[in-house]
Symmetry: C2
Subunit: 321 residues, 2 copies
């Protein structure tokens, strides 16, 4: 839930006068996204989302993010497509913030994905990877293996206040993954945060992928591992292998995984679990007094990590042999 | 800014299955309204607003509010129109909250109204008063003269922490108004909160009036006085008589004020200023630690009150002689 910056209608109208998208008919802040302020803008020509980038998004990353959406949309992926101003620019400034306007995507996210949704998502993820293959810009993944130790140090001994022994468990896992993180897997553009709230469905078909503000250049199979974590566990912490099989089969129908990627999948899944465990832990330990938004539970990812630690082969995730 | 209650898409779909409004295509929490949770719902037939009533709205008042919108819309006023379920009901329950779905109104609110906007608003307010004349339900105005002393007592001596002498100024004004509040003016349905953010415009024409959750039965001219306070002062606290003249002329073009109403206008304007001064004062003194939303400044209404105290005749507001 967000909308951090207030935009006056008159300011919006001045901004829109630089675009060929008709005149403003409606304008509402929408309570979505935790990093940015988002507004649903309706004009005589259609619906758009105006995003104002708040301070957690680095300005130097914006050309990567909006360029990527433009690139993916041009290759037929259903994602928000940046709208160029009459000047040709796709980045602007509104209310003192960097801003971009993108097309509005219809669709509704699912809270409890079925195996069918997982299959759709797997196909969509592989399409994203293929569509991104020739995207020329690069952005390092600040939340891959090299970024985890600084997060762990930021949490420090306070981790044990969240759960006894958590600090030691994370330290041990971190040591294992730092020593054994895969090398030389196929790389490219990954979404890196493709949780169910970032995927839209219409009539149970994937209708769009949104929120590219963690996208970066990393192992494609790491994105698969993130999705297994985000889509294939039940609320009680159990891994649902039917959903995993559906997601992986959907993915492989579009982009088959190499033998190296398959072999690395259990480690990548551990890494993905540790990444969300660590960022949630830091958020959990840094909630402002009286905040309205309750942070997500880091221990959900400790449970997932425990599951992955016990996995011996990628087939345990439901991967076709 | 709001959205207090989270609604799962699957829950929304189950709710919508009771309506003949097509299938869901989009669903976004919108950051508006301070009392309720609001969602923009798009279906294959159009756009709607789903409102979930949070605890500050009393359930027993809901038939008045939704019945009023239905009544006004049926008489041609451009306001949100409740959508009946297939069962005929216009009140429902979603996520454990009372809820209603209304039509979506296009339009954009203005931050700095011009005299032209004030004229439009005056006409719309008078149309609302005429359209509400035969609405059969009644709702007492809890925020008229009888409600002010309890608010003042809730603020208590802490008022002086907001501005030195504020407590004494309010006590004196309260005594004057309690002894001299008008009697027997024409009464009916009033909006009671028609601030610029509750009025939509398209091409500078009033396109809709929203947020009827303070509506009640009271003097019609008190609603005019509220609007003079809300629309006709500049940011520096000065009364803009050109805007006042436009608002009053717009109103009188549709519903002329009686001589009694004109004579009472200065007292009604003082009362309206005191009402918003008091509610803002109570909110100001009761901000939860760390709250994201900064309450509105009560002293803005002290300045307005000082202006009204110096007004001798209704003509000073710009009323035609």
């Amino acid at each position: 839930m967000a909308v951090y910056t207030d935009v006056a209608p008159v300011e919006l109208e001045a901004f829109l006068s630089g675009y060929d998208i008709g005149s403003l008919t409606s304008f509402h802040g929408i309570a979505e996204g935790v990093e940015n302020s988002n507004f649903l803008v309706q004009t005589t020509t259609g619906s758009y989302i105006l995003t104002l980038y708040e301070k957690r998004v680095r300005r130097e990353d914006l050309p990567f993010f909006v360029g990527l959406m433009q690139h993916l949309a041009a290759r037929g992926l259903s994602c928000p497509e940046p709208v160029a101003a009459r000047s040709g620019a796709i980045l602007a400034e509104v209310a003192g913030r960097p801003a971009a306007m993108v097309t509005f995507l219809p669709g509704v996210s699912v809270r409890r994905p079925t195996a069918h949704h997982c299959a759709e998502l797997g196909r969509g993820l592989a399409q994203l990877h293929l569509a991104g293959a020739d995207f020329p810009l690069k952005r390092a993944n600040a939340l891959s293996v090299a970024g985890w130790r600084p997060l762990f140090e930021a949490a420090g001994a306070a981790a044990d206040t969240v759960a006894p022994g958590l600090s030691g468990a994370v330290a041990a896992e971190l040591a294992v993954l730092e020593a054994n993180w895969p090398q030389d897997l196929p790389s490219g553009v990954i979404h890196a945060d493709l949780f169910p709230d970032n995927a839209f469905f219409l009539d149970d078909q994937l209708s769009g992928i949104i929120d590219f503000y963690f996208a970066c250049t990393d192992f494609l199979a790491y994105d698969v591992a993130i999705c297994l974590n985000a889509w294939c566990f039940e609320a009680d912490g159990a891994y649902n292998v039917t959903k995993g099989r559906a997601l992986l089969a959907g993915y492989e129908a579009v982009r088959p995984l190499s033998e190296d990627e398959k072999a690395a999948l259990p480690r990548l899944a551990r890494g993905a679990a540790l990444r969300f465990l660590l960022t949630r832990l830091v958020d959990w330990l840094n909630v402002p007094e009286g905040a309205l938004v309750r942070p997500k539970d880091p221990l959900e990812y400790l449970k997932k990590l425990r599951f992955h630690q016990a996995v011996e082969r990628a087939q345990d995730y439901g991967l076709a042999a």
